[in-house]
Amino acid sequence: MSGLTGLALVTMIIWVALFGYVFSVDRKTKGLDHE
């Protein structure tokens, strides 16, 4: 695996993890707002 592919992979993993985290927090707070 080249250095560039590695960097692209790490960036994609960071984005997927960040999106997953933001998505889950968003859903939780929506649930709290409707209580």
Binding site: G3, L4, T5, L7, A8, T11, M12, W15, F19, V22, F23, V25, D26, T29, K30, L32, D33
Partner: protein
């Protein structure tokens, strides 16, 4: 699927496309070591979101002083927090670029110095908020401070780095008023700017929701 949910998934796919294009569609720019020029697609948008968030904070601070609505106070605070977070990210990505290009994370370049001053100014905003226990007094003082803090932003971000000689590469619109970026670079950068703006708007909306819930619960307790 609701529109909001569809937009979030669109953002997810959009940013995956931006990452792919940033690494595989554009070629490394001339005059840069290795692949270091690609960091521009993540560094510039973080700096952009930082300025945008500080502007939002200033607008809600003005609104608070006009209407004294606690919601405007927390909207301003959330925007400042988001701006501070993205200012840190811009500093970190800039330092990584500096290490590759100039072999040192920190060079006291005008841009590095001005972002440090900006970070300190907005860190002091939160020190001020935590130092005043009375909510109304805190909100009023923080609003005045946020307005004054934003006055420094155009100088520190746009003026000072252009007055002094800097190691920093040309911005999209350079000091000669032209855009000498490769068209592919401009396209991916604009796509990344749009993606980061969308992401920050999303984070901002749920951070405001959290603050609204907190305020409502405090009122219920009282």
């Amino acid at each position: 699927m609701k529109v909001g949910s569809a937009l979030k998934w669109f953002l997810f796919v959009w940013m995956l496309g931006v990452i792919w294009a940033a690494f595989y569609w554009v070629h490394p720019a001339e005059g840069f070591i290795g692949e270091s020029s690609r960091i521009v697609f993540f560094h510039v948008p973080t700096a952009w979101v930082c300025v945008l968030a500080f502007l939002v904070s200033c607008i809600y601070s003005i609104k608070y002083l006009m209407h004294r609505d606690p919601a405007d106070d927390f909207r301003a605070a959330v925007a400042s927090r988001l701006g501070l977070l993205f200012a840190v990210l811009a500093t970190v990505t800039g330092a990584i670029f500096a290490k590759i290009m100039w072999n040192a994370y920190w060079n006291w370049d005008p841009r590095q110095t001005s972002i440090t001053i900006l970070l300190l100014i907005y860190a002091a905003y939160f020190a001020l908020r935590s130092a005043v226990p009375d909510p109304e007094r805190r909100a009023a003082l923080a609003a005045v401070y946020a307005i004054l803090a934003f006055v420094t932003v155009p100088f520190l971000v746009f003026v000072v780095p252009r007055i002094y000689w800097s190691l920093h590469p040309d911005t999209i619109i350079n000091t000669r008023g032209t855009n000498e970026f490769d068209p592919r670079y401009t396209m991916v950068l604009m796509a990344s700017l749009a993606g980061f703006t969308g992401l920050s708007a999303w984070i901002y909306s749920f951070e405001c929701r959290i603050e609204r819930i907190r305020l409502r619960r405090q009122e219920e307790v009282l």
